[in-house]
């Protein structure tokens, strides 16, 4: 029993199953972060004391670096997919490895940020700005970890599929890439919302 349209595109929709599946998942994630942003806006607007909560304690240069790191990981991710399309497994491993390195880099910088807050006695319970900051970036961080697990699998044990079903493997990397680009997209909104505005 073979489920149709796992690799080949269905003519009227132009999609293979996993691509539609991941877009639906991403739609739900948009709504998740929408709920989080909505809460941030509501809390910020109704609190006249917001400016005193310590947004200035955030390290903008470090976060800008983090933004550049994540954007780079997005580029390397799409390049790893392109490498597979061009049948170049070595290049794929190179770019996927770079993606993983950038992702770890992002997490390390985040870790530095968090621990410096804790060292100054700044916790989520201290005030609402910090609560929002820790919760939103924390959830985003969990999504980054999820991405690392998936990409790590495709860099390591999962790479075997290239030998048996190259087209299916390429599709999986495309789908993983869509997820990863979304994680980058969320950060593109989180960064100005939390650090700059």
């Amino acid at each position: 029993m073979k489920i149709p349209y796992n690799e080949e595109l269905r003519p009227d929709t132009g999609l293979y199953n996993a691509k539609l599946g991941i877009w639906l998942f991403l739609a739900s994630e948009v709504m998740l972060f929408g709920g989080l942003f909505s809460a941030y806006i509501m809390l910020r607007l109704s609190d006249p004391n917001w400016a005193n909560y310590g947004q200035s304690a955030l390290n903008v240069p470090l976060a800008t670096l983090n933004t550049a790191v994540l954007i780079s990981s997005s580029v390397t991710m799409v390049m790893s997919w392109v490498s597979l399309k061009l049948n170049d497994l070595k290049k794929y491993k190179f770019y996927m490895g770079l993606t993983l390195l950038c992702s770890f880099g992002f997490l390390i910088i985040k870790y530095i940020e968090y621990t410096s807050k804790f060292d100054h006695g700044l916790y989520p319970s201290t005030n609402n700005f910090l609560a929002v900051y820790f919760t939103l970036t924390g959830l985003h961080g969990l999504h980054v970890i999820g991405g690392i697990l998936v990409n790590g699998y495709f860099f390591g044990p999962g790479i075997k599929m290239w030998n048996t079903e190259p087209e299916r493997f390429t599709n999986r990397i495309e789908v993983a890439g869509l997820y990863w680009h979304f994680v980058d997209l969320v950060w593109i909104f989180l960064f100005p919302a939390l650090y700059l505005l």
Binding site: S38, L178, L197
Partner: protein
């Protein structure tokens, strides 16, 4: 096929440079003090939307997809905007009772006489 991919690689490189530039732009813009607060916020959000659009359209190949995905996404975006803007409408007194509470300001509610006599 190879040419097609090379064309794509060029696009990815250009988008990458564009994203880095816009990141710098948004950080720089945050240091400008606007007379009206919401202009600064609108500018920050606008730049974020442009960056997001570049990622979605190019890295996520939305430019190349057929309509079904667009429909799903349009619907999602509509509801996202509802969620997003609801608090601002709520806050601006359009959607809730005003903060002026008479009893705290020394006024007293007029006693409503239901039965024509006082209890």
């Amino acid at each position: 096929m190879s040419n097609d991919m090379n064309h794509h690689i060029k696009i990815y490189r250009n988008v990458f440079i564009g994203l880095l530039f816009l990141t710098g732009l948004t950080v720089g813009a945050s240091y400008i003090h606007f007379d009206v607060l919401w202009v600064g916020i609108a500018l920050g959000l606008a730049i974020a939307f442009v960056k997001g659009f570049l990622v979605a359209a190019n890295f996520m190949h939305l430019n190349d997809e057929k309509s079904f995905i667009y429909l799903t996404l349009c619907m999602t975006v509509v509801f996202f905007l509802v969620l997003f803007f609801m608090p601002t409408l709520w806050h601006n007194d359009l959607l809730k009772t005003p903060n002026h509470i008479p009893i705290q300001n020394g006024e007293v509610y007029k006693e409503i006489d239901y039965h024509g006599d006082h209890h």
